[in-house]
């Protein structure tokens, strides 16, 4: 493994009595699209600001290309940053905004002009160079901010909820575009968002934050399919959380009882004594009801309690015999009306035992 471009070691930060970052460690590699995901107040923005040098960690170290950043002020870190509220300079034109970092570096005028034109083309603002930034739309201002940050060829581009202030439609378009720009320029992105879908569609890896703690850091598919804690499972929409009893265990496997059936599933690290109750996550699209349930290796008796039509999918909410509820998502309506009895099935490999 090559040396990571950015690494955090046990970074801790307090604001008064609240711990906003609690011994956070992770590493980001060159060219990666790395996302910090979490609800507001989870500490993700503060971590980004500590990487930028805008906040000072109480403890721990931030390393960029192996160099400790403790005594390096923001203006010597050579990073780019894009803010949620654009933060374009209102007293400058589009071109002056984009060329700001280059002018500060005292590059020759023709070099600056060429680079500014190149970046405006990259972000789709060619021909807007002479415009006043304040007359631009939110999406356009954010493109200016992005071009301005990329102009200095930053080692690392930090993005703090850059699409958070934009309309739904523009946000979707910009997601694709951002990913495309990241691929074209080969810049390493560290991206902060609270939008799980945004994180899943754009990222190479995602670190999920909860109350200042990095609870899981994995590729999107892994996070989505194999959450490790209740928080992560609950954060991605469409996970069922049910309780099971541990009947027996080996080093790698657990035998748990869910409802009236017992099944053998993978075992999480840590202590899982026999007879304890564990939380289990099953994604709704892996739960089958009606005739499809008969092909599953685990089947439980259930009663349909609600049917929610969502357009492309239909959620069937079923209640098991022990009173636990599960959602089953399918592409078409399986049961006509609530109140009907139905088998409810899933496969053990889709069942994830959570650590907490």
């Amino acid at each position: 493994m090559p040396e990571p471009l950015l690494s955090l070691h046990e970074v801790t930060k307090r604001f008064g009595s609240t711990v906003v970052a609690d011994r956070v460690s992770f590493a980001v590699h060159r060219g990666e699209f790395f996302t910090l995901l979490g609800p507001s107040g989870s500490g993700k923005s503060t971590i980004l600001r500590m990487i930028a040098g805008l906040e000072r960690p109480d403890r721990g170290r931030v390393l960029i290309s192996g160099r400790d950043m403790a005594d390096v002020p923001p203006w010597r870190r050579g990073l780019g940053m894009v803010f949620q509220q654009y933060a374009v300079f209102p007293h400058m034109t589009v071109a002056d905004n984009v060329g700001y970092g280059l002018r500060v570096r005292r590059l020759p005028r023709d070099v600056i002009e060429a680079r500014v034109a190149e970046l405006l083309a990259l972000v789709g603002l060619a021909g807007m160079a002479r415009k006043n930034v304040t007359v631009l739309s939110g999406g356009e201002q954010q493109r200016v901010a992005l071009a301005r940050a990329l102009a200095i060829e930053p080692a690392l581009l930090l993005l703090d909820e850059p699409l958070g202030a934009l309309d739904e439609k523009i946000r979707r378009d910009m997601q694709t575009e951002l990913k495309e720009i990241q691929r074209k320029t080969g810049t390493t992105f560290v991206y902060v968002t609270h939008d799980q879908e945004e994180a899943l569609t754009m990222s190479d890896r995602i670190a999920v934050f909860h109350q200042g703690v990095c609870v899981q850091c994995d590729a999107p598919e892994v996070l989505f399919r194999r959450p490790r804690t209740r928080f992560v499972a609950g954060f991605f929409r469409g996970s069922n959380l049910v309780e099971g009893d541990v009947l027996d265990h080996t080093d790698t496997q657990l035998r748990v009882r869910i409802g009236e059936r017992s099944l053998v599933v993978g075992r999480p690290p840590g202590l899982v004594p026999r007879g304890s109750r564990v939380a289990v996550a099953i994604r709704a699209e892996n739960v089958r009801i009606g005739s499809a349930a008969r092909r599953c290796s685990v089947q439980l008796d259930a009663v349909v309690s609600a049917i929610v039509y969502r357009g492309t999918t239909v959620d069937h909410i079923v209640e098991l015999r022990d009173g636990q509820r599960l959602a089953a998502t399918s592409t078409r309506r399986e049961i006509d009306a609530p109140g009907a009895r139905t088998p409810c099935g899933f496969d053990p490999e889709d069942v994830v035992v959570l650590e907490d």
Partner: protein, 302 residues
């Protein structure tokens, strides 16, 4: 509202919208007040500047004698001195007030800065005549300033130029008008988005460059507002030159007062009109350079 449905004949009279009437009604009171007590007297003053002296009174005429008297006589020197003294006082006030405003806006928690700003109103609890007379004691030959300088061994004889001089007038003007300059500057600096400063840092600009390229240009409207507060006030001041300038120290304010004293009303009106015109030009320049509304808009949003 007020339209008849179904193709009936439209009544040709526009119905008065009651909320509109109320709005203009409320606006009319201050407008009338301003017109009656400010605009009309100022207009009368301008008209009067073209009249002629007639014994102890004036008579209607169209004469530019008063202007000629003003612009050719020794009073032109007074105008030049007023401009220079007010200019220096304003510049010095800016140099003192900007760092104070910057510090309060950027390095002090908002609650503290608000109460500290309130402290700048304390000098105005004391009557300005008393405030300025206090300086005559402080700066006098036997006053504490000379006393301390002598005790420290820096001087052997009391400094004469501390009082009844340009220095004393500047001290009086700066202490009178500098506190007023802090407020618009504080508002302007506080209105500069911190993220713009952070964005500038990350783009490689150190705090000094960031100040020159971001904070200073964006606080320009506040600087101009402060300059107007300081300059207009200092320029028209009449108590400070009388109390601290000493005998014969003339600025526009007290020259106009003394001209009224000798009953030369047209000349006093002409001088006042020139001062008024200068100030209006100044304001018009500000309005052209900065869109006042956008500045106010920023303050309101903030």
């Amino acid at each position: 509202m007020g339209t008849v449905q179904g193709g009936a004949v439209q009544v040709g009279v526009r119905r008065a919208d009651p909320s509109r009437v109320a709005r203009y009604g409320i606006l009319a009171i201050p407008m009338l007040f301003v017109a009656l007590f400010f605009i009309v007297p100022l207009a009368l003053m301008v008209v009067g500047s073209f009249w002629e002296r007639a014994g102890f009174w004036v008579r209607p005429a169209f004469s530019v004698r008063a202007y000629a008297e003003f612009l050719t006589g020794v009073r032109l020197f007074v105008l030049r001195r007023s401009l220079a003294v007010a200019g220096v006082a304003t510049l010095a006030g800016l140099v003192i007030a900007y760092p104070i405003a910057y510090f309060l806006a950027r390095h002090v928690p908002e609650r503290t800065s608000r109460s500290m700003l309130l402290l700048f109103t304390v000098p105005f609890v004391i009557n300005y005549v008393i405030r300025n007379f206090a300086w005559t004691y402080l700066l006098g030959r036997t006053g504490p300033v000379n006393g301390m300088l002598m005790a420290a061994g820096l001087i052997h004889r009391p400094l004469d130029w501390l009082l009844f001089s340009d220095v004393a007038v500047l001290v009086g003007l700066i202490t009178s008008y500098m506190p007023f300059m802090v407020y618009p500057l504080w508002l302007a600096v506080a209105a500069v988005d911190r993220r713009l400063v952070e964005a500038s840092w990350l783009l490689g600009a150190n705090p000094r460059v960031t100040f020159l390229k971001v904070t200073l240009p964006l606080s320009m409207p506040g600087i101009f507002a402060a300059v107007i507060f300081g300059f207009v006030g200092s320029f028209g001041e009449s108590a400070v030159p009388i109390i601290l300038g000493g005998v014969g120290y003339q600025m526009m304010g007290n020259t106009i007062t003394s001209t009224l004293g000798v009953l030369n009303y047209p000349l006093a009106a002409a001088m006042s009109s020139v001062v008024l015109a200068a100030m209006l030009l100044f304001l018009a320049g500000w309005y052209l350079v900065f869109d006042v509304r956008s500045f106010l808009g920023k303050l309101v949003r903030w």
